[in-house]
């Protein structure tokens, strides 16, 4: 009986190189080539579906190309980038997006952590509760948008009906400037609070019990335990969840499209929604590409700063 082959080694390449090729295998078909052969379909797919479109969009962003008008793509340097960065329309959409991101992610963080904290203190029914809270996250944003649109309808919606039953007047949730953006934040919060809750719950569960036991022996108050044990230990994990949610919220499109269509006027138009209009109403492909590239750059730069802060937090 032969010796069992180790599953992992510290230097797999060296082991592979010293193993003689199996009988019948071509000498040219080394392990490295085999690996390349197996990886290449995935790499090709990545190249075709992700890398190429990004590079192509980068190229188009320096041209005046239009997908429908045809004709050559004329190089115009940074013309598109200058137009976008100096446009009052874009500044308005950027502010709307910022308010939305801060409002929605802030609310989700507070609620998500709060719910996770309460669930983590329960011993019975914790699994069932967690599963129930996760349901909104599993729904398609379009479906969520559609049923919230019905629920928030000023005339026939269940929300106004409930407000009416307690003596409050009708609220125009989706057609007034302030309430429309608030409605978007509320709906997004309803759907994505469970995500923050899930991550926070994982963090809370991982806090060592002995720390609480030691604090109990010292007769530390509940608030003291929360402030000095729970929050510092869960904070880094919570920040990662916040980062994911902020990136998601930054590129919000679907809920806006279904719930308000950017209205009233353009008061709930986010950056992504505006790009959609530039790309598919005006078919200004070059401008839309530059707009998209700028959004990617903003996300990358902000994420880098955020990650550095997280690393410092970890080191500290």
């Amino acid at each position: 009986m032969s010796e069992p082959v180790p599953l992992t080694t510290d230097h797999p390449g060296q082991v592979a190189s010293t193993t003689p090729p199996a009988p019948g295998r071509s000498r040219r078909l080394s392990d490295r080539w085999l690996a390349v052969t197996f990886i290449s379909p995935a790499m090709l797919l990545l190249l075709a579906m992700s890398v190429f479109p990004l590079l192509w969009a980068l190229y188009l962003s320096f041209t005046d190309y239009s997908a429908t008008r045809g004709g050559p793509a004329n190089f115009i340097g940074f013309g598109n980038y200058t137009a976008i960065l100096t446009s009052a329309q874009v500044h308005t959409r950027a502010l709307t997006t910022l308010i939305y991101v801060v409002g929605a992610v802030g609310l989700q963080t507070v609620l998500g952590f709060g719910i996770a904290y309460l669930i983590s203190r329960r011993t019975h029914g914790r699994g069932v509760l967690t599963t129930l809270f996760l349901v909104p996250m599993m729904l398609s944003p379009v479906v969520v948008g559609l049923f919230w649109r019905f629920m928030l309808d000023a005339q026939f919606g269940v929300v106004n009906s409930m407000l009416g039953s307690i003596g409050l007047g009708q609220v125009e949730w989706l057609t007034r400037q302030r309430t429309a953006l608030l409605s978007l934040i509320v709906v997004d919060t309803w759907q994505w609070t469970p995500f923050i809750m899930l991550i926070a719950l994982a963090g809370l569960t991982a806090v060592p019990k002995y720390l609480y036991e030691a604090a109990s022996i010292d007769r530390a108050s509940e608030w003291f335990r929360f402030r000095t044990i729970t929050l510092p230990l869960v904070w880094p994990l919570l920040l990662i969840a916040v980062m994911f949610r902020a990136i998601e919220a930054f590129r919000l499109f679907d809920l806006v499209y279904i719930l308000t269509n950017g209205g009233p006027g353009v008061s709930t138009e986010t950056l992504s929604f505006h790009i959609y209009k530039v790309a598919f109403l005006g078919f200004n492909t070059g401008t839309a590409s530059a707009y998209g590239i700028l959004m990617v750059l903003v996300v990358i730069v902000l994420t880098q700063f955020y990650l550095r802060y997280l690393n410092k937090l970890k080191e500290g």
Binding site: G13, D64, G70, N261, P264, G265
Partner: protein
């Protein structure tokens, strides 16, 4: 034995081979993704359809349309499969639908890909300019000369649904090219509650507002007016354009391509003031995002005294299953009246409806079938059958036929409205122009902008789009 140098880092020749392979893959991906590249270098222009219809295929064939999801789309598919199949048993008609808000994008993204899954695009009249300029649809001029009796139509309907560049309102340029043929005529009808405001409909816009005001005051829970206000599609824009026309305003000066100073002149300002300050207060709370379905729902549930909607979308109002106004069609008609729009300084009404246009990227056999279908559809006897099936025809003989006039209570409204129609701008920049107007009118209706500011913004932004259309360079926001 292999060289230990090859472990960990690649040798120089190996690296070169792999870099070359990666470069080749990138090039191959680029070539595949960009197609054959023929389109990019060529200036688009609409290809010509043959004057005479070539031999039709005997093989089974599906003729696909693209339209938005509303009752006439279902009616067209049922009608065409029932009637056209009698002449072409091997042909099946499929009307693909998308939500109204996606209609333009669904067609033009496929046009942009130079490949369509539809053979006949049902374009809004204002989409023609964009499609013609980009070479997306066939030039039917020669085909129409050979196969269609153009004298049988009101000239404006032919111009509106097929001609580019579009003629002045109410006129057709005999020498201009035709790119489409009428499929469905349409305009707004005024729907009024006979039991609440009387049998006689208001004749002027002022009378209409006064009647709505009184009706609302007399009937708590029922709003005086219901009309399109949404900022999707062309909803709010058509509403403003209608009031603008009635109050003697103009959308632009087509000869000088001037919008700023035209749409926001005194008549335009008066129209915006009437819309926002006199009509809006008579609508239901939260109706700022209403479009076709919501207006119909308000009428069917007895929540509106007077409403405005497209005729082609009004059929459902007479369905007792969808209405609280009566348990039979007759009971509903005792309460609902349909009339042409009231006039004020002019008697203009909005032109709706759409034409049929053949995709330039469809297979030859399908293009041939499409031409044959269009020739068949425009025949006098077929137009009358289409009218009886619930469609709105465009041939004058069909419009005046008992088949059409007896098919619905609002059909007489359409026939009477044809000489009064006015369309929007039929230019390649239409989608951007209508979005600017839509969002600003919607903002004014919902208190996000002052009416005067909204109108001035429309004028300024639309003028900027028109002015930049012939200019090369970045921007395009």
């Amino acid at each position: 034995m292999r060289s230990p140098k090859r472990i960990g880092r690649m040798s120089a020749p190996g690296r070169k081979v792999r870099l070359a392979t990666a470069a080749m893959l990138l090039v191959a991906t680029t070539v595949t993704a960009c197609g054959d590249g023929k389109d990019d270098g060529e200036k688009a222009s609409a290809p010509k359809a043959p004057a005479t219809i070539p031999e039709l295929t005997k093989d089974p064939l599906t003729l696909s349309f693209i339209w938005f999801d509303w009752p006439p789309a279902k009616a067209l598919e049922a009608f065409a499969n029932a009637e056209y199949k009698k002449e072409r048993p091997n042909a099946t008609i499929k009307v693909n639908t998308v939500p109204n808000a996606n209609w333009h994008d669904a067609m033009f993204t496929q046009f942009a890909a130079r490949k369509t899954d539809f053979d006949i695009a049902i374009l809004d009249s204002q989409h023609i300019g964009e499609a013609v300029t980009n070479g997306n649809i066939l030039d039917l001029t020669d085909f129409v000369k050979e196969n269609i009796d153009v004298a049988a139509y009101n000239p404006y309907l032919l111009a509106a649904y097929g001609q580019f560049p579009q003629a002045e309102t109410g006129k057709r340029d005999e020498n201009a090219s035709l790119y489409g043929l009428p499929l469905l005529g349409d305009t707004w009808t005024m729907i009024y509650r006979k039991d609440l405001i009387g049998d006689k409909p208001p004749q002027t816009w002022d009378q209409m507002i006064a009647a709505a005001e009184k009706c609302q005051a007399d009937n708590p829970g029922v709003s005086g007016l219901a009309f399109h206000q949404a900022n999707g599609s062309d909803a709010a824009a058509v509403t403003y354009n209608t009031v603008n026309g009635v109050y003697g305003g103009n959308l632009w000066d087509s000869k000088t391509r001037k919008i700023d100073g035209v749409i926001n002149d005194a008549a335009g300002q008066e129209a915006m003031d009437v819309l926002v300050n006199k009509m809006k207060p008579l609508t239901a709370k939260g109706s700022g995002n209403w479009f076709i379905d919501e207006v119909n729902a308000a009428v069917a549930q007895g929540k509106a005294c007077i409403a405005f909607n497209w005729i082609a979308a009004s059929g459902g109002l007479l369905d007792p299953k969808q209405s609280t106004l009566g348990t039979t069609r007759e009971q509903i008609l005792d309460k609902l009246g349909f009339a042409t729009l009231p006039s004020q300084k002019t008697n203009l009404v909005p032109l709706g409806g759409m034409g049929m246009h053949v995709s330039a990227y469809s297979a030859t056999a399908n293009q041939t079938e499409a031409l044959n279908f269009m020739k068949w559809f425009e025949r006098a006897d077929v137009q009358k059958k289409w009218a009886a099936a619930g469609g709105v025809p465009s041939r004058t003989d069909a419009l005046e036929s008992p088949e059409f006039l007896n098919a619905g209570p609002f059909n007489q409204v359409y026939t009477d409205s044809v000489p009064r129609m006015r369309d929007m701008w039929n230019v390649p920049e239409y989608a951007r122009l209508v979005d600017i107007e839509n969002t600003n009118v919607n903002a004014a209706l919902n208190g996000a902008k002052k009416p005067k500011d909204a109108l001035d913004d429309i004028a300024k932004e639309q003028q900027s789009v028109l002015d930049s259309s012939s200019r090369k360079g970045g921007g395009g926001l």
